[in-house]
């Protein structure tokens, strides 16, 4: 898939999730740990939030890659930074999976 298209699809999903998330917090804010974790650990919310972070990471990958390509000219430095970025993204994605999809180890 073209990164341009990935940028747009992830943007639309994130926008929808973000509006829902903010609206839910404004209408019925989680006032306690119990309420918060019941909400976040419900299957639909855990899945939707995981998907949100995947979209966020994919979106940020494309965006940051463009920023790096624009401003970082030395080839080796660019290569190293892009690799570090990619590793960071993968680690953060796994972190989210561990939090939301494993029942909290």
């Amino acid at each position: 898939m073209k990164s341009w298209l990935l940028q747009r699809f992830t943007a639309v999903y994130m926008a929808l999730f973000f509006v829902y998330f903010i609206a839910a917090l404004l209408i019925a804010p989680s006032e306690s740990y119990e309420e918060w974790q019941v909400w976040m650990r419900s299957t639909p919310m855990a899945l939707a939030t995981t998907l949100f972070f995947f979209a966020l990471l994919g979106h940020a990958w494309v965006g940051l890659r463009d920023v790096f390509l624009d401003y970082i000219k030395p080839f080796v430095l660019r290569l190293v930074l892009l690799n570090l970025l990619a590793i960071g993204m993968i680690v953060m994605a796994l972190w989210v999976v561990r939090i939301l999809l494993t029942g909290g180890a």
């Binding site: 926008a15 740990y33 918060w36 976040m40 966020l56 965006g63 953060m92 989210v96 939090i99």
Partner: protein, 141 residues
């Protein structure tokens, strides 16, 4: 002069010596950028800020779900003045990125490309960023 507009380049005869003697860079801080450019660079800056905030977001999610005590730790942390300041910055970044991004999506489908509309929506996106900070300020305080 706060606004560079090099019309001489077009009106003068093409003289290679003259062109060589002209400065080869433009000081971006001295150019008064059009509002569409401000919305655009704001989109990039806010995007980088939001990227930097991703680990904080995930950490917050992680810690807040670990138990009542950890949840309380997060609440206490976000009560710090410095953290509130950071939240205001992120509120601007989030709101600006959100609205300027929606503007870009519309431009992708050829809506609002003409200069008048493009300028107006750029101003709206920048304004929404400010409104985002104000709303965050009200919620936080």
């Amino acid at each position: 002069m706060d606004y560079y507009r090099d019309t001489t380049l077009l009106s003068e005869p093409m003289d290679n010596k003259k062109i060589v003697s002209r400065p080869v860079y433009l000081n971006l801080l001295k150019i008064r950028q059009p509002i569409t450019a401000l919305a655009s660079i704001g989109h990039r800056i806010s995007g980088v800020l939001l990227f930097i905030a991703i680990p904080l977001m995930i950490w917050t999610l992680d810690t807040s779900l670990q138990g009542p005590q950890q949840y309380q730790q997060v609440v206490t942390l976000y009560d710090q003045p410095l953290m509130k300041l950071l939240l205001l910055l992120l509120a601007w970044a989030g709101a600006h990125h959100f609205f300027a991004g929606i503007r870009f999506l519309f431009i992708d489908i050829d809506w609002g490309v003409d200069l008048v509309t493009a300028r107006r929506t750029a101003g709206m996106a920048i304004g929404c960023g400010v409104v985002g900070v104000v709303i965050a300020l009200i919620v936080i305080l």
